[in-house]
């Protein structure tokens, strides 16, 4: 699976000369990156939820105004490392100047679901390892983004039962809630073998979409492979 020369990743598209392409790429990047950035600002920069949300929005507004993502040089660092450094720099400046209200100014550039992130941060007073925290939230964002794409494609192609099986089996909140294939077969009135086959097919597509999302978020083939190893490498 090589990096297609004809495909321009989001990271490359944010440097496009076309303003509309650039804006769409920035929106897409923001959708993946807001949660890791919010969590990073909350714990690594010790900000209260409201301030962290404001700083996160402020960062994206600032990045848009200054075309920050377009300055990314794939030869120097991973894109997500670049983003985190930019966030650190932005937050330090904003706090120093105490201008975050003015900069963020309540502008809702990204739809942020603070409550969702906050549930995960409960009990974590500060980020003992900012890299690990950022990576954890980034992994989650990539998977959530891939699920959204899977939904979009399967709904468009009328594969609602495939999706329902995937959600019921692979997206349950805890392993105890996972139904058996036989229960799923009975629930959807299909043979158990069909549950096996459809789940396998959906998982294959999900995996392909995850890789596609990673490719979109990478500036080079090397970065894509590194990110794939980081996300899909050993999980145990």
């Amino acid at each position: 699976m090589s990096f297609p020369s004809t495909h321009l990743s989001l990271v490359r598209r944010v440097r496009s000369g076309d303003a509309e392409t650039r804006a769409r790429a920035q929106d897409a990047l923001a959708a993946v990156y807001w949660a890791p950035i919010y969590a990073h600002v909350r714990l690594s920069h010790h900000q209260e939820p409201a301030d962290a949300e404001d700083l996160t929005q402020g960062f994206f507004v600032d990045a848009l105004r200054r075309d920050l993502f377009a300055r990314y040089d794939p030869g120097r660092a991973r894109f997500r490392t670049f983003v985190r450094r930019c966030v650190d720099s932005y937050v330090a400046n904003a706090l120093q100047a105490e201008q975050r209200l003015k900069r963020g100014g309540g502008a809702a550039f990204v739809p942020i679901d603070v409550a969702d992130v906050e549930t995960r941060l409960t009990g974590e007073v500060e980020a003992t390892d900012p890299d690990a925290l950022f990576h954890r939230e980034w992994v989650r964002s990539v998977l959530v983004s891939a699920i959204a794409k899977l939904h979009e494609r399967y709904e468009a192609s009328g594969r609602a039962v495939h999706l329902a099986l995937f959600e019921s089996y692979d997206m349950v909140a805890s392993n105890d809630e996972r139904p058996t294939y036989a229960e799923l077969a009975s629930r959807h009135d299909i043979p158990t073998t069909q549950v096996t086959n459809w789940l396998a097919a959906t998982r294959r597509d999900f995996r392909a979409i995850v890789l596609e999302t990673l490719r979109d978020l990478s500036g080079s083939e090397e970065e894509f492979r590194d990110e794939a190893r980081a996300l899909l490498g050993t999980t145990t």
């Binding site: 699976m1 090589s2 679901d113 969702d116 995960r120 992994v139 989650r140 998977l143 959530v144 699920i147 959204a148 939904h151 692979d170 997206m171 349950v172 909140a173 805890s174 392993n175 096996t196 086959n197 789940l199 396998a200 998982r203 294959r204 999900f206 995996r207 392909a208 995850v210 890789l211 894509f224 492979r225 794939a228 190893r229 996300l231 899909l232 490498g233 050993t234 999980t235 145990t236």
Partner: protein, 323 residues
């Protein structure tokens, strides 16, 4: 769509995209994760056709390139070329539906050598198992294959006393029949594990003596229960333990920094260990008179005890049977 996912769901989804999915490979069904090798993940799988458990090694890299594919295929071919009871046999190779290569090998039930050694074992038992490891490695050397990553974690002891050397992922094949496979091994020249990897491997050089060094590290671990790198870093690696002089000397010679100061072959190393077990002189060790006497006594203790018993009886007869 905004998906709110629990940590358990995220962990499951990550596992899903990493682990070969159940039911996607027609012959082998993955049932559990066994462990991590040099470049691949090993799973327990069920061979549906032969109805038996096997170990299935899948390339870990989620987006393998041609070099990665060549490397795992090379490992499988090297293993397949080594038919020895101490080397895990390969049954099959194949490609998963997601494009990743895998190979299938015997599922070894048992304990890793480091776990085995941590249980209460006699030194002789550990040394006998070590000699079996040496046998397997010497066989590989005779076939022109250097393992290059020998350590206790890469040796498995089966339930019936069998000893198997695993993880040939960074092995180097220099035999004529494997010459075409040697290209990709050059990239892995410096691969190995600190403490067990011979110093010259860092310079991209490795012959049989690199494995002698690795085996020296394994022997050190068996004798001291310590990782060789950690022990060396703290000064005298032999401080605070009761390892006999000959075994220390064997270990030190096997682990000499200069390859020319090591045993020239695994056979020579194994010979010295066997000599120690048989209470014979050890080539790597110059013993003193007292040690020599002690060794001779140990070696001939049965005969000496019989002679002593005979003498005691004769003396007793002389004393008590006097008219």
């Amino acid at each position: 769509m905004t998906a709110r996912l629990s940590d358990a769901a995220i962990a499951h989804l990550r596992e899903l995209v990493t682990t070969p999915a159940r039911g996607t490979e027609p012959r082998y069904e993955i049932t559990a994760h066994i462990g991590e090798g040099g470049m691949g993940t090993v799973y327990l799988a069920r061979d549906r056709e032969l109805d038996r458990d096997v170990a299935l090694k899948v390339l870990r890299d989620p987006v393998p390139d041609d070099d990665d594919r060549a490397r795992i295929l090379r490992e499988a071919r090297i293993l397949a070329s080594l038919e020895h009871p101490g080397i895990v046999p390969v049954h099959d190779v194949g490609t998963l539906p997601d494009g990743r290569l895998f190979y299938v090998m015997k599922h070894v039930r048992g304990e890793r050598f480091d776990e085995f050694a941590r249980a209460e074992r006699s030194r002789a038992e550990l040394l006998r198992a070590f000699l079996q490891v040496c046998d397997a490695v010497a066989f590989a050397h005779a076939a022109g294959v250097i393992h290059r990553d020998l350590k206790p974690q890469n040796v498995m002891l089966g339930a019936f006393g069998e000893v198997l050397v695993l993880d040939w992922g960074v092995a180097k094949a220099s035999g004529a029949s494997l010459a075409d496979q040697d290209e990709s091994s050059r990239n892995a020249e410096a691969a190995g594990t600190p403490g067990y990897m011979a110093p010259e491997q860092l310079q991209g050089v490795a012959d049989e003596r690199a494995d002698v060094y690795g085996l020296g590290g394994v022997l050190f671990f068996l004798l001291t229960q310590q990782h060789p790198a950690t022990a060396s870093a703290t000064g005298d690696p032999w401080a605070d333990n009761l390892v006999p002089g000959p075994l220390r000397a064997i270990c030190d010679r096997a682990r000499a920094s200069d390859p020319s100061a090591r045993y020239p072959s695994v056979g020579a190393l194994a010979g010295d260990v066997a000599s120690y077990l048989d209470a014979l002189p050890v080539a790597a060790y110059r013993e003193g008179l007292v040690e020599r006497i002690r060794r001779v006594v140990v070696r001939h203790q049965t005969a000496i005890l019989l002679v002593l018993a005979y003498l005691v009886v004769r003396v007793a007869l002389l004393i008590f049977a006097r008219p």
